[in-house]
Subunit: 305 residues, 2 copies
């Protein structure tokens, strides 16, 4: 099978259903689109590489599904309805093309995102770059610079579980209780849209660890934060399984949680999310455990350290 | 310098000027956009890898500029005005990040394309995935499936020169007469817009070699083609430098020419392009030299052979 037939068989017509947004999809030099009237377009892109973003012994189909979901999580963070995906597949061999095709298109189908373009190239290491587009009503996007000093801090989804699963995988405990949190991440797309519709204005997804991303959000908004870690969703489960020290480390710095960190005016009640703290005018992010200020050694992943 | 500072210093605020299309650029989970009324959005993405898309001894800044221009060429082929770029930078080390940043943002600046998003990750090999968006009036895109059986076949730009430059580079002739054609490709953006405005409906850019891409266009349109190679722009220069056999090989199969292959109703006159043949109802693409049918052995690049 030649390059073009291979690409056709792995990608053409796979993924979610055609959308009115897309006037011309796969097959030409570029895809053509027209957002609906009154809607804004939201676009994000992420690269994922074997040995960097996933362990070499993770099946590449699973890795490709994770890569797609990780990109979609950025749309969830803005509160956008996902529409389209463009996929750069960089593959060591034809088997890797097929496996990445299977994993990526299954994730797109699950979230009903149409595959509208991309390319497939030979590569010394398996990798994907995933670009996704979604839409939302003009002016309604949740941004990370919109927190106010009196806002409460909320979390939708859990932190620490992905890192705990990755650690189990890396230590050979491939059927560990957390492993599925690492192998099958799910972007909180429905929840993101719901939060936006409920009037939430400030949100981001947690990919670099709760503390580091909270600092990003706080700095972008010109506020500070107090976060009480015992209020984290399923905190007691994390402590019961890992002990307090490891639970703190994974919750604060684990990364790739794809939970939604957001703020809302004090007193607001929200379903499917936990209030975990409070913004303040003084900059910086303070972590507390049962009220006491604590320090959790920072080890957020830096690609170039 | 940490990851985030490095990315800031290499990319933030570089590239072309801000556009009304982009409401929120680099710095959040995603960028936000709104196409102008009556316009359609055109999107393309391309991955480029060291050792696959460029020789390992090509300076990575030059390679990054080529990667950006290659993606922009897809917008030229549709007749779109370029607006925005999202950049996945996959880099072996911080020096490669800086060099790719320099090369990519210089190309974006040259074509006035705003850098609105992307990511930077450590990678076992230097690579970029480049996603670009442009706009054009609704319904006016030049597509590869719109050729008619009576159309003339035209070429804007030259074929064979890029391959000749690459061959000189690979054989150590780094100051060879064609090398600049390989190191500095230019997407024919202005020409693409002009052709669209002149009513051209069918166009593609040549990346896989003239013959292979002519076959793609002919098949997509359900037509065939006769192409007279002696009518190619600067054909005599190619023959004088390389001899006829090599000139034929590079012109028909060289690849990465980023010339625009298009069709137009017979009798139309067009500036800045050469008429090189004629469509016909019978499928297939026939190459001729001074009227005689010829066969040029096919060696178009297949990523998985």
């Amino acid at each position: 099978m030649g390059e073009f037939d291979l690409i056709d068989s792995c990608f053409a017509g796979k993924g979610g259903k055609p959308r009115a947004f897309t006037l011309l999809g796969i097959g030409d030099d570029a895809s053509i689109h027209q957002p609906a009237a009154g809607m804004e377009l939201v676009v994000s892109t992420d690269a994922s590489l074997a040995g960097v973003h996933w362990p070499m012994d993770l099946p590449v189909a699973i890795a490709a599904g994770r890569a797609v979901c990780s990109a979609l999580s950025d749309l969830a963070a803005m509160g956008a309805e996902p529409l389209s995906c463009w996929l750069n597949v960089m593959a060591e061999d034809t088997d890797a093309v097929e496996q990445m095709g299977l994993g990526a298109t299954a994730a797109l189908l699950r979230h009903d995102v149409e595959l509208v373009g991309g390319d497939t190239t030979r590569s010394p290491c398996n990798a994907l770059a995933v670009t996704v587009a979604g839409q939302l009503p003009a002016g309604s996007a949740m941004r990370r610079d919109a927190a106010l000093a009196d806002d409460d801090v909320w979390l939708c989804g859990r932190v620490g579980f992905h890192a705990s699963g990755l650690q189990q995988w890396l230590t050979g405990e491939k059927d560990g209780c957390f492993v599925v949190e690492f192998t099958h991440i799910e972007p909180l797309l429905r929840q993101g849209v719901m939060l936006r519709e409920q009037g939430v204005r400030c949100c981001m997804d947690i990919s670099d660890g709760l503390l580091q991303d909270a600092e990003h959000l706080a700095r972008a908004s010109g506020v500070g934060m107090d976060i009480e870690l015992s209020l984290l969703p399923d905190w007691s489960q994390l402590v019961a399984e890992l002990g307090e020290a490891k639970a703190l480390q994974n919750a604060a710095h684990g990364g790739e949680d794809y939970a939604l960190l957001f703020t809302a005016p004090a007193g607001k009640t929200l379903d499917q999310a936990c209030r975990i703290g409070r913004c303040r005018s003084q900059p910086g992010v303070a972590l507390r455990l049962h009220g006491d200020l604590i320090t959790v050694e920072k080890s957020g992943y830096d690609h170039f350290k």
